[in-house]
Amino acid sequence: MRGIIYTAMTDIKKEIDIKTDRMIVNMGPSHPVTHGTLHIVLELEGETIEASHTNIGYLHRGVEKLGEYRTYQKFIPFTDRLNYTSSINNNVGYTLAVEKLLGIQSPPRAQVLEVIACELGRIADHIVCVGINAVDIGAFTAFLYIFKYRELIYDIFSRMCGARLTTSYTRIGGVSRDLDDETIRMIRDFLTRFPSAIDELEALLTKNRIFYDRTRGIGEFSLENAIQYGYTGPCLRAAGLEWDLRKKMPYLGYENYEFEVPTGTRGDVYDRYLVRVEEMRQSVRILEQAIENIPEGPVIIQDHKIALPQKEDVYNTIEGLVSHMKLVMEGVQAPAGEIYCATEAANGELGFYIVSDGGTKPYRIRVRPPCFPIFSSFDEQVQGHMVADAVSILGSLNIIAGELDR
């Protein structure tokens, strides 16, 4: 009896395993889930992905080449266009690198303002990542609820620096504008309202059966593999390593803030989602501490060989006029040498490698984008998954084409 059932079952299996030709499916370059412009060629066996080939470079604008022809100040707007969902983090990362090259530090007030900017940027980035990832999977509601709060952050940004997206907030040796009382009130207001929004998001997604089934075990990546591929940021933490440059190599006085680094266990899409949500809560914690302890003082370094003097001085004193002219016409004189400076951006380690030959322009400027090494593992990660899972994996890696292609 048993034998009969067994043969019967194998017969069924034979029927299912009909060999078909592999089908080639193009995802992109223009596709709603590609978050920018990238091209993925999937080889399918039925609904299963057998192989995948990624083509990138559609958004390559030669940022590194352009940087070699511009003074250090003039590169700041280019950093806005790297990771455009959290441009303010790139501004901070770049100016920190130049400050390291020059051997200066921004004043304490500017450092706290930069921390506030960074954490708001991180929240905005995670909102986009988590929200869009949920939309790609089919949970449209969560996205609509949480995106309202990104709008509030952008309102704060537009008061802080005059622009919502292309912020260019920082300058070498400080920040461009001070925070006024109205902006501080807006940030406080945001901080009181946002935690309940995260609860709302979690109520919609974390224990949602459909979301859980679509993300748990999908794109599972071991820690060894993650390290081999150069993962940093939330994706590495989801794989189980407590690694955060804000803790391990503090910059901007991050050692003075109390916060925790969340980690996952399996490194799948669900863990990445959980890590990002928890990071938003931790960012709120940092912001609450920062907003209450903004020191008094200038927001930019008072060295007029590096930062522009006050407008009053430029119009009324000859020294001010001369240093203003020298800075605008020539730029900041940097010592010869090479530095690498890394910060923890929303996506992972954002590094700038600057080679200076002693002039006012960098000899070579290299941007180490966090999502470039992460995306290089995509081909390996999607193998054996379904087409629909490729979408959720892509969303969870948080690929930003501007930063990927530079």
Partner: protein, 154 residues
């Protein structure tokens, strides 16, 4: 860090030189380009488990025209080490390290694309950011910033 430098000098002798950085970084210059894979393996097995970045710099006036920069990270304790590899010639070729670090696969493709440095034993050495039949290597110093229409996509 001293341990690592000691280890490198033990294995590579005169072909490594330690250069102090401008702001406290450690740079190591490896003069023998044929041993880069060996050096990467040694570093990987001795704590430097992550290759954070791989890039190049072009110095057209020097004897060694290109300098590859391997940016290494050790996690426990946190150490950063930058290995520089000077390369001779207009179109140099060097051993690929993509078998040591998987992430080097794309980084090497990018260096090939932007600088024209070729990597031996690379599984898939194709252009990555520019399209396939593109001529020239944009990040070389002789490449113009603005140019003729030859470089437009057709």
């Amino acid at each position: 860090m001293k341990q690592t430098i000691g280890l490198l000098t033990k294995y590579f002798g005169d072909s490594v030189a330690v250069e102090p950085g401008l702001r406290g970084e450690t740079f190591i210059k490896l003069k023998d380009e044929s041993r880069i894979r060996e050096a990467m393996e040694l570093l990987r097995d001795n704590g430097f488990s992550m290759l954070i970045d791989l890039t190049a710099v072009h110095y057209p006036k020097r004897e060694h025209e290109f300098e590859l920069i391997y940016n290494m990270l050790a996690m426990e304790p946190l150490l950063r080490l930058i290995v520089k590899l000077p390369l001779k010639g207009e179109k140099p070729e060097v051993e690929s390290v993509s078998s040591v670090f998987k992430t080097a696969n794309w980084y090497e493709r990018e260096v090939y694309d932007m600088f024209g440095v070729r990597f031996k034993n690379h599984p898939n050495l194709k252009r990555i950011l520019m399209w396939e039949n593109y001529e020239g290597h944009p990040l070389r110093k002789e490449f113009p910033l603005e140019g003729d229409n030859l470089h437009c996509y057709d």
